[in-house]
Amino acid sequence: MDKDATLDAKGLMCPMPIVQLAKKMKDLRPGQVLELLADDVGSEDDVPAWTNRTGNELLAMDEDGGVFRFYIRKK
């Protein structure tokens, strides 16, 4: 998937992936897509919860070997 930036949050535990995600999204322009990598098991539900609350769009997510990959479009 096309992306404009990547945030590697692997090795970080809750709440840091979400805190860093929120900060990183501020650097993007509306419509741009961020790829987020995280291996905190909570991320699977935390990231969709974050996009749901903030109105940003979760375009896709997958998991490979314990690493979650999310594509989020800034609103």
Binding site: G11, L12, M13, C14, P15, M16, I18, V19, L21, A22, K23, A49, W50, R53, T54
Partner: protein, 134 residues
């Protein structure tokens, strides 16, 4: 209108120090306005240079916990305080507790606001999320 979250912290042990910071930074990251009101023994957490200790018989193991958190890349108290401040989390000190605990305004961290119960309840009245940590 921005959603609001308020927390009241009445104990000053390590877990009670960390939890409002974890919840507060997350809520702020989700776009919420966050207010934390520190009262009674929780108030000492707002003092400059404080290092919260584990509770009761676990107290001597505080250093061990801090090292473990560092190894696991879990941010410690000072780092979380800095993150919270950066994200705009509001810290409030209970005015009566300050007198009771012998803490003056100059003992407090920068940016802490001293409030009475009425002023806090005015903030809390329309908050969707309320947590009591004590």
């Amino acid at each position: 209108m921005t959603e609001k979250m308020v927390m009241v912290v009445s104990e000053g042990s390590f877990d009670k120090a960390m939890m409002p910071l974890i919840m507060g930074t997350t809520a702020a990251s989700m776009g919420m306005e966050v207010h934390v009101f520190y009262t009674f023994f929780g108030l000492k957490l707002l003092k400059k240079g404080v290092r919260p200790k584990l509770k009761g018989i676990m107290r001597p193991f505080t250093g061990m916990m801090e090292r473990k958190m560092k190894r696991l890349k879990v941010p410690g108290f000072e780092e979380m305080m800095a993150q919270a401040k950066d994200l705009g989390v509001n810290f409030h000190a209970c005015s009566t507790s300050m007198t009771l605990m012998g803490i003056s305004e100059r003992d407090l961290r920068e940016g802490v606001k001293v409030l009475g119960a009425s002023a806090f309840l005015n903030i809390a009245a329309d908050a969707k999320v309320n947590l009591f940590i004590g």
